[in-house]
Structures are given as structure tokens and as C-alpha cells.
Amino acid sequence: MTTTDTVSAAAPPADPPPQPLTTRDGIPLKVSLMRALRREKMRAMLLIAPLLLFILLTFAAPIADMLFRSVENGIVSNTLPRTVEALADWDETSGEAPGEPVFAALHADLLIATEKKTHTRLGSRLNYEASGMSSLFRKTGRRAGRMDEAEPFKAQFIDIDDKWGEIDTWQVLKTFSPPLTSGYFLNAVDMELTPGGIEMKPESERVYLFLFARTLFLSLTIMGCCLLLGYPVAYLLAALPARTSNLLMILVLLPFWTSLLVRTSAWKVLLQQQGVINDFLVWTGIVSDAGRLVMINNQTGTIIAMTHILLPFMILPLYSVMKTISPSYVRAAKSLGATDWTAFWRVYFPQTVPGIGAGSILVFILSIGYYITPELVGGTSGIFISNRIAYHISSSLNWGLAAALGVLLLAAVLLLFYVYDKIVGIDNVKLG
């Protein structure tokens, strides 16, 4: 203490004005050092460049592209550029369908669109927003070429389909004409874009918020079940002598290596009402033949099957952490007078927290995006949001909505990750 005091007290007046350190050829040392380091860094970058490029091209870019679809809506203005321009002057609150210039523009646009066969594509896009658009465009496209150019177009369009005279049709067209739309995101949270602004959908059509909540709830439940069942198993694995624990380890790993579909189907055989478990319960007289338990095609089925499938993802990180905990800590605690419970809870358990964290994150993130098992055993009350995403990707082709749902799911996971980091700390996670 005293020496530093004297040094700091004595140093300032003795110090000459600071001279920048230079190398022998006059370049400041800092610059020279940076140069050398940059070269090193460049070399390191070049080494990892192939992998980085590969990841960017095959992983990051497709995800970014998919995410962008959740707001992208160029199709209306690309297919009907003149109509969109003419519609800008139309007042959608006027209560009247647009006038002749808009219909003339629509005719010109449709002639080109039918040539390129893009009008039906636009129809199926707009059909996501209002039923009937798909056939309206298909029908109109077939007859657009046969219109009489000398006559007023408005009457001819209305003649093809009354919908062209209805204000709703034009409101949809105008609402969805900008190249970017919030429509998909609103849809993904059970809202809709109407001419009057953003509104909640009618009660009977709301499904996504509910499914998001259920996905989170079920994933947390599955995570909890995995932890409850996995912790003792991991403890046994770590505590038993090598010979027995190896045998146990195989019992954990064998199902892990078995196909997901096989395991899910096996649960079907076990859990169904005419299945093994129910037959056994009826045979022992615990339940009556009429009162067979319903354990599948509902949430119970999803929870049981997914807990089984994801259990190894909990056990393995837990095991690898427990393996490193020296038994002498617990022994020391006991020798100092701790009861079994205190020794476990105050000494052993805190040391396993990194394993619990890792296992829980793994199980939670895996289960939040699962869809095969819920689809097979979940019935109607046990399906996840990912089942709807899969439906919109592969069946309804509404990729914009699927992308919006995906973005929300990703955002929810990131948010939970952040909260987890604040509470537990991400440094406290050990993945083996």
C-alpha cells in the first residue's frame, strides 16, 4: 500500500510528455501490431471461410428468405400494376364500386396476366383473404380476351360475375395492393386487416393464439416430465459401478436410436382403448370394460409419447454433469452433520444445475417444434402450432402465413432463451 502510494505520488512530475512507442522503421507500435494481427485474423478467416459460406448459403439465406415471405406481397402490384394505380384514386369508404377507368385498367392487366397465366396465382393469393377470389379470377381470365373493347368494361365485368360490382371485392384488392403486408402476421395472431383497420377475427375463427399457448404449455409440461423421470435415472447412471451403469446406459440409448415412428406407433398399441394397458387393467379388474381409459388421441397421449421420445435428451446432459461431481463433497457434508436431504439439496443438487439447464433447453426447444408425434397421437386436443405450419406449407400453400407463424415461434423461443439467460445464466449450461 505504502509503496504504491509513494510511486504514484512521485511519478507524475517525473514523467516526460508521453512519446508514442515506435518500431525501428518509425511506424507506431500499435499500428504495426494491428497489422500483424490483422494478417493473422485474415488467415484464420480464410480457413473458416468455406464453412462460413456454406452455412450462410444453405442455412441462413433460406431461413431469411422464408422469413421475408411473411411480409412479402408483391404479387398484386406485379400482376395488376395499372389497376393498382387506378385504384389509388378510389375512395373505399364512398360505398360505391370504382368507375370505368379502373375496369379498363383491370381489363388491360388481365389480358397480359392471362397471357402469362399469372391471374390464377393472384386469385389463390387473394383467396386467403376473401373466399371466392380464386374462382372469380379463374372465370374472369377465361373471358377477358373475348370482351368488346368498344363497350364500357364495367358492365361487361359485372356481367361475368356480380362480384366485380360489389364493394367488398375492391376493398380486398385495395387493402392488399401494397408490396409489403402485415396481413400474414395479423392472421397469425387471429387478427385481420379490414378496410376499417385492424380487428380481431370472429370468435369462431380464432385458433392460432390458442395453439401457441397450448404449444408452450405442453412443451413445458413435457420438459417437466422429462426432468422428473430423467434426474433419478441420470443419478443412477452416474452413481452405479461401471458394469451395471453401462448396461443401464444401453437401455437409455437403444430407444434413442430407434426410429421415431416406430416408437410412436408402439405407444399407439400400448395406449389405445383396446390396447395392452387397458386390456391389462380390465383383466385385473381395476377398470370396468365400459370404463376403459382414454389415453391417446388427446393431450395425455402427446405428453406420454413425447416425454418418452425426448427423455434421452434430458438424461445425457444430466449424466455428463453428474459424472464430474466428486462423491467426496456429499461425504464431506454428511461428515459435517448434514442429513441425507440437506446433503443432497444443499450440496449435490446445486452442482447439477448446469445439467438441468442444458437438458431442459434441449427438450423444450425440440418439443416446441415437434409435429410428427402430436399429429399421430395428439388427436385434436394434443396438436401443436407446428402442425398448422406444416399444413400451410404442404397443403394450403399459404407460405406467407406459415412463415409468419414460424417467425412468431422463433421469436417466442428467443424471448424465452433471453429470460432463461437472465434467470439461470447461459454460462451455467453444460451440454456434456
Binding site: K117, S124, S134, Q273, G379, I383
Partner: protein
């Protein structure tokens, strides 16, 4: 097999694929018994006649719509011919992903000279579509249910009658077909079904009717589920494709019978992806002309109980290739089975599918 033989074998296959055959055709279908029937009826005879063509089977039809769109966007078309349902064909045609077909020009006429477009008739539901088979979604029921006191369902509305026919039902996890059946049994006349379903009250009515059996229903998403549920006794009646029920009843000999009432006709057929290069397109068209002629369509019925889509094929339908039973009475198009069929409205569903699906899923989840 040792490593050496494996190496030799793969070298031999590599030589065969590059050397002997001039052209590979990738044909996409559903897999299972259905692909098998196409393989026996179309692919094998065609390859025998044209040794320079090699047909590769891809079993991705259930995700064909999404994959075709992805291929189109990536500009890398790897499929030459795709087997899809009619509703998917309409969708693909609308999206510009399927090529428009001139049926009379591109397909063989019937043996008596009737042009193809007339031979297929109304079944050409889209300009891009070449129908192959007619199937129907219908109900199967177990014949050994004690609680039914010897009665057997013979009316579609028995599905909604929990008093006479107690037990669990299996229905498909989507609005199509279910909504129509519900309205029919709620007293709506057949020809008014779609008009009623277009209104808010109509949808509510259909859902309310389905609601009467909701807690007694297992909802399926794959066609193989109902046969399995029936065989396990997990449900007492359930809807599925008639070919699945045929194999459950005739091939696996289960105590199950078919309920031919208000069954819904649907189609399966080919589409040609838009944008094939000239050489591949020519090869596909050559194949299609062969595979969709009158005899070939009739041949397929030997292996699976789906009716040929050409009118001229119907008289040529023979016996099952292995069981040796007459196939005609098992066809959905047989007059005895088709006494009271329901005509599915593709155009209507193309318009209302998205909306009704949202309603239906919200209803299911609640």
C-alpha cells in the same frame, strides 16, 4: 455381401444407368399398394416395349404441391410426371406449376375412336389434369358389435345415430366431406348442400351436427389409420378410401363391411410439371399416351379396387391378379355401389377451403 462385391454391384448399376438407357423418367406417386398397381399396369409393360426408357419411382405425392412449388422457385425441376388428387391439380394449375393439356391431341382415343376428352368426360376437372382412377371416400363398419343387436348401418346418417349404433367413429381431420355428410343428415337436400354451406348459418349447422358425435370421434389424417382402427376394434365405423377397405375386407379378412351410401367420388390422376425441357417432355408425353389408354387403365384395376377414369375401360375390368375375385363389384363406379353417390364440387372447395378449414380447425381445437 463383401465390400468388393458391393463395389462391383454399384459399378454395374452405374454402368447400366449411364450406358444402356438413354432417358430416365422420374414419376412421382403415392407409394404402397397404389404405386405397385401402377408399376404392374403401366411401368413394367412400357419399359418392356421401350428398353431405352428407365422409370424411377418417387413416392412423394403427398407433398407434391409444396415440392413442385419449391422446385419451380429454385428453377430445378427433377420430376417428369406427378400423380396428384384432383383438388391439388386445380391448385397446381392455378399456380402455373402444371402444364395445360390438350386431351384430344396428347392422349390416345378410345378403341372405338371416341376422342379422349369425351371418354374421360366430366372427370377432366382442370385443364392440366389427366384423370386415372375414380375412388370414393366411404364408410366401413365392424360386423361384430354386440351393442348394435344385429342391426347394420345402411344409411350415411347412421354415422350420426349414436343410439342405434353406439361406439367410436373415425372421421378425417379436415372439413371436406364431413361438412357435406353432416348437412345431408341434418335434412339438407343433396343439390342444396353447397348453397347452404356457403352461408354462415350453414357452416354452423354442419358443425353443430358434427358436434353431436364429436366426443365419440377419432380424427385421422392418413388413409391407413381407419383400417387399423377398425381392425383393432378401436372404432366401430370410420371413413376412408374404398381401396383401403377392400384390402382390409378381402385381403386381410377382417369382420368389416362397407357402407355404400352418399360416398364421395374423388379422382386421382397425372399432371405434367410446367417447364420441362423439350427432350424430357417428349418422353413423358410418349409414356402418358401409353399409360392412359383404355386397356392400361383397365389393367390397373386388377391390382387395386379403384375404377378406371375412362368410360371405355369399364367393360374391360377383370379379376384381381392374386385373389382371382371379380373386381367389378368392388369398384366405386359399379352401379350397385353407386346408387346414392355424392358429387364433390371441386370449384366450390377451391374457393372456400381456406376459410372453412380455419373454422373447422378452430372448432376441433375448442
Amino acid at each position: 455381401m463383401t465390400f468388393k462385391t458391393l463395389l462391383l454391384a454399384s459399378a454395374a448399376t452405374a454402368m447400366m444407368t449411364t450406358g444402356a438407357s438413354a432417358i430416365d423418367l422420374t414419376i412421382v406417386s403415392w407409394g404402397g399398394a397404389y404405386s405397385n398397381s401402377q408399376n404392374e399396369a403401366y411401368h413394367k409393360p412400357y419399359m418392356a416395349e421401350n428398353p431405352d426408357v428407365n422409370i424411377i419411382n418417387d413416392e412423394s405425392s403427398n407433398e407434391a404441391v409444396a415440392k413442385l412449388r419449391a422446385m419451380n422457385e429454385a428453377g430445378n425441376l427433377t420430376w417428369d410426371l406427378v400423380d396428384v388428387l384432383a383438388s391439388d391439380a386445380i391448385r397446381l394449375c392455378d399456380e402455373g406449376l402444371a402444364m395445360e393439356i390438350d386431351h384430344d391431341e396428347m392422349l390416345a382415343p378410345a378403341p372405338d375412336g371416341t376422342p379422349a376428352s369425351q371418354d374421360f368426360g366430366d372427370l377432366i376437372v382442370s385443364d392440366c389434369y389427366i384423370p386415372q382412377i375414380v375412388y370414393s371416400t366411404t364408410f366401413g363398419y365392424r360386423t361384430d358389435v354386440a351393442a348394435w343387436n344385429g342391426k347394420e348401418p345402411d344409411d350415411i346418417c347412421d354415422v350420426f345415430d349414436l343410439e342405434t349404433f353406439p361406439g367410436k367413429r373415425a372421421l378425417e381431420k379436415r372439413p371436406i366431406n364431413n361438412m357435406e355428410w353432416a348437412l345431408l343428415c341434418d335434412g339438407v337436400a343433396k343439390e342444396d348442400v353447397y348453397d347452404v354451406l356457403e352461408t354462415e348459418e350453414g357452416v354452423n349447422r354442419a358443425l353443430a351436427k358434427l358436434g353431436t358425435i364429436k366426443d365419440q370421434t377419432v380424427w385421422w389424417s392418413a388413409g391407413a389409420e381407419t383400417p387399423q382402427l377398425l381392425a383393432d376394434g378401436e372404432v366401430v365405423m370410420g371413413s376412408t378410401y374404398n381401396g383401403r377397405l377392400f384390402s382390409l375386407i378381402e385381403e386381410q379378412d377382417q369382420p368389416v363391411k362397407m357402407l355404400w351410401d352418399a360416398q364421395v367420388f374423388d379422382l386421382d390422376g397425372w399432371i405434367v410439371p410446367a417447364g420441362l425441357p423439350k427432350e424430357r417432355l417428349d418422353a413423358v408425353m410418349e409414356y402418358l399416351r401409353f399409360a392412359t389408354d383404355t386397356q392400361r387403365l383397365a389393367d390397373q384395376a386388377k391390382y387395386i379396387s379403384y375404377g378406371p377414369a375412362r368410360e371405355s375401360s369399364a367393360p374391360l375390368v377383370g379379376k384381381h391378379a392374386e385373389l382371382g375375385i371379380d373386381m367389378a363389384p368392388h369398384m366405386p363406379t359399379d352401379p350397385n355401389n353407386a346408387k346414392n353417390t355424392f358429387l364433390f364440387n371441386y370449384e366450390w372447395w377451391a374457393d372456400y377451403r381456406d376459410d372453412l378449414d380455419a373454422r373447422f380447425q378452430a372448432w376441433l381445437a375448442s
